[in-house]
Symmetry: C2
Subunit: 180 residues, 2 copies
């Protein structure tokens, strides 16, 4: 098995992060991997917003928690936006049915590149689906200089993992049909 | 730069394929990579349909060409569905807003894994967006035993590339904002 496939199979959704920031040259490599995703008609409709400011990350977390119901069972675990040092949001320029795929593929590339560098990641769907529906989220988007034509299509936190995830969810069987 | 990042940056959208089929063990590895994508709440909502039957591939190509306008400028190049030996469609079980992302990430994993094995690929969006709107496409889906709850979210052809793609589209600049 080659190194690339090992990185793909070895990638995990990481829930516990060390506090230190990832290195600038690692971030640069991760973003480069994102920019090399395929895109419909080669439009490259993406805009990568990288949030590494602790106050902004906490503001995002609080906006989501204030506006959304607590998870079933009550008490919340520390949120990944509190513990992971970097959040990357891929916004896509609206206007083609491929944009959601392009931005998602860009994030996939970044998660695999990160894994290959020993950096964990975890998709944060509430940032894609909910954050920018709220006034606080709209204000952040404006503050970041992201214009209205850009829609959030992918979001994930990145950081060095604090410890090896304990549990590897088994892969579903019976999900392939071959028509030969 | 490590091997994984080299595979990611080296992946190309391949337009010319050799006729021979990819090896069964390579297909197996590609599918395994797809199944190791992250998914919302670990639902793994995917179903991978691999079409390697020449008649079915031509039927798909003809359905698309019959029902869709010719490209601007008239004459068509040989369609990738005529020349590439394998088409993989990732269907997703409807019911969560993450499903489109999950299936797209699975396809991204497969395209990178393929690249690492020297196998080219190319996303075919008409299969995602159009094919199953037509009667012929609906009949194929039924024939493959794919139930109505499954929606097509990603599709790409795979095969050995006939020659190195000539042109490497440059990557867009100015697509990163860092909030530190």
């Amino acid at each position: 098995m080659n190194e690339t496939i090992k990185s793909i199979l070895g990638r995990r959704s990481v829930k516990e992060y060390r506090p230190e920031q990832i290195k600038a040259e690692e971030l640069e490599m991760i973003l480069l991997a994102g920019r090399y995703a395929p895109s419909g008609m080669n439009r490259q409709p993406w805009l990568f917003v990288v949030i590494q400011n602790k106050d902004e990350l906490i503001k995002i977390k609080e906006t989501l928690q204030k506006n959304m119901p607590a998870p079933p069972g009550g008490g919340r675990r520390p949120h990944l936006l509190e513990t992971a040092p970097t959040l990357i949001i891929v916004f896509g320029q609206d206007g083609a049915s491929t944009t959601i795929h392009d931005c998602t593929l860009a994030m996939g590339n970044m998660m695999i590149a990160a894994a290959s560098l020993g950096i964990g990641s975890n998709w944060i769907h509430a940032v894609v689906k909910d954050l920018f529906l709220f006034e606080e989220g709209k204000a952040l988007k404006k503050e970041w200089g992201v214009s209205d034509e850009y829609i959030p299509y992918a979001a994930a936190v990145f950081g060095y993992q604090a410890k090896e995830p304990m549990y590897r969810p088994p892969r579903k069987e019976g999900v392939v049909k071959i028509i030969s």
